[in-house]
């Protein structure tokens, strides 16, 4: 319990909670088959807090929506429900973006820069896959159709990209953030 935690609490109330209502209604509308909306929203908050605790986040709102969407798709897969027919068209980040999500202070920008540089250093295909999956939050399937490549290629390129990024982390001291 430190002043830093208090700061985290304030950040949460000021920058994250205002998106809760939006997130809920979006989740209900987009994935009517999901029953435990509360659990899922709670889980998304928990993940966001964890991430915020250990470093900067470019856009808390986008982080919430992308995380929740990943969880929802994952759960649908386990439930063997049909996907909503338009699920492939969804861009969770396109909704209600009139007010920009507040970004972290410039002081922490360095860590985000490292992540960006790691992606930039990748071969073209890897870079595109990582960009679509991580920055736009598309699923692997959606990445495949957008790039006109097979899902298998997406998986393979993503894997190569991830390994190269970890290599990049290793060379640039970013691995210090691992091992909590």
């Amino acid at each position: 319990m430190s002043p830093q935690n208090v700061e985290q609490a304030r950040w949460f109330v000021d920058e994250v909670l205002p998106h809760e209502a939006n997130l809920r209604s979006w989740l209900r509308a987009r994935f009517p088959a999901i029953e435990d909306v509360d659990d899922m929203v709670q889980e998304a908050f928990t993940r966001l807090l964890k991430a915020h605790d250990s470093g900067p986040i470019a856009n808390p709102r986008a982080f919430l929506f992308v995380t929740t969407r990943n969880m929802a798709l994952n759960q649908l897969r386990h439930m063997r429900y049909e996907r909503p027919p338009d699920a492939n068209e969804v861009d969770p980040l396109s909704i209600a973006d009139e007010v920009n999500s507040p970004l972290e202070s410039m002081a922490k920008e360095e860590e985000l820069q490292q992540l960006i540089l790691a992606i930039q250093a990748l071969p073209n295909r890897c870079r595109q896959v990582m960009t679509l999956r991580k920055i736009y939050g598309l699923s692997q399937k959606e990445v495949a159709s957008r790039l006109g490549i097979s899902v298998h290629t997406v998986e393979a390129q993503g894997s190569i990209g991830l390994r190269k990024c970890i290599e990049y982390f290793r060379d640039h001291g970013y691995l210090a953030h691992f091992k909590t």
Partner: protein, 354 residues
């Protein structure tokens, strides 16, 4: 002699490659068949678990960049981060985004300020949710009612089948409260060590070179599987009872160190777990004692009149700041920080009157 054993194992880059492949498959969801293969792969070598923890962490780190583009209202662009594109070269554009946003946030704030009703609703709602969410470690209730609490940074995977309830602790520390079910053992696999329970509570921590198990309720059986034991026999350990601790050294022949913890040692070892405090018409003075017993930061009452105020509430023991905020926002108190280790609560009305 030590060097010869390593030649049986694939090299580190190979392991990392496999781990990256699994991370991508996990990201899209495993098929039933892959699930089995994945379990198999993980149990083959303790280093597989470490590699997967690293890869999954690395993969998740990039979620920090989610929505990087939304400030620009850009369409989906796979080449957003192409070398030579706008984010490159010390990223003047990115800096620009960071500079612009506070302005947008200021406008948003003004908008809220003009609708005070709306703003008030928001804040009450906010403090209520904050109580539930802030500073809590991750807790999961499984389908059978068993509960896993993950300490910061811990990663666990759950696999339930009709025969057994299996959980794999891949990284970090977790506490398990197991629902009773004699027909379906609850097994925690950690770096090749099986911790089996029927209905009980225990704590497992994966360290760099050892697995540390502490039993706080019931009985637990420990089994180290053949991966660790070159003699290829499954080594079964005597039962662990309440207050027992077993530390299994990893690498080479498994060595189990057993010890018995005193109740105060147990409290200290398991102190990371937050507890749900249930206050039912409890005076403030008692609530303060309860928090102070469990937190480093100490709470004090600056006005004696506060001591007798009664509350009914439930709150996590590590959520001191959530409690303090609730007192401030809904119960007319004011909090003063004295350094970083003490918070004094006062009656806000009284101080205003003074």
């Amino acid at each position: 002699m030590n060097t010869s054993s390593s030649s049986n194992f694939p090299e580190q880059p190979e392991i990392e490659k496999a781990a990256a492949n699994w991370t991508l498959r996990l990201d899209r969801g495993l098929t039933a068949e892959e699930q089995d293969k994945y379990s198999q792969w993980l149990s083959e070598d303790p280093r597989h678990g470490e590699a997967i923890a690293l890869c999954r962490w690395g993969w998740d780190e990039f979620d920090r960049l989610a929505g990087l583009q939304t400030t620009q209202h850009a369409k989906i662009d796979p080449d957003l981060l192409a070398p030579g594109n706008r984010f490159v070269r010390k990223s003047p554009i990115l800096k620009f985004c960071f500079a612009v946003v506070p302005l947008a946030a200021a406008f948003a704030f003004m908008a809220v300020a003009f609708w005070p009703e709306h703003a008030e609703k928001q804040s009450v709602f906010a403090s209520k949710s904050a109580i539930e969410l802030i500073a809590r470690l991750e807790q999961k209730t499984l389908a059978d009612g068993s509960v896993i609490e993950l300490n910061r940074g811990a990663i666990a995977e759950v696999e339930y089948s009709p025969e057994a309830r299996r959980v794999r602790l891949i990284h970090g520390e977790a506490n398990f409260t197991v629902a009773k079910d004699p027909d379906r053992p609850f097994i925690v696999n950690v770096a090749g060590v099986d911790v089996c329970a029927v209905g009980t509570q225990f704590n497992v921590r994966l360290k760099d070179d050892a697995v540390d198990v502490i039993v706080s309720e019931g009985i637990v059986r420990l089994a180290t599987s053949k991966i660790l034991n070159s003699a290829s026999d499954v080594l079964e350990e005597p039962l662990l009872e309440v207050g027992h601790r077993a530390v299994v050294k990893l690498g080479g022949t498994p060595k189990v160190n057993r010890s018995i913890l005193s109740p105060s040692d147990m409290d200290r070892e398991l102190g990371w777990q937050p507890r749900m405090l249930d206050f039912d018409d409890t005076p403030m003075s008692e609530i303060v004692l309860e928090f102070n017993r469990r937190n480093e930061v100490q709470l004090k009452l600056g006005d004696s009149s506060l001591a007798d105020i009664r509350f009914s509430n439930y709150i996590w023991s590590d959520n001191l700041e959530g409690f303090v905020r609730l007192m401030e926002s809904n119960f007319g108190m004011r909090a003063e920080w004295h350094g970083s280790s003490e918070i004094v609560l006062r009656d806000a009305g009284k101080n205003q009157a003074r």
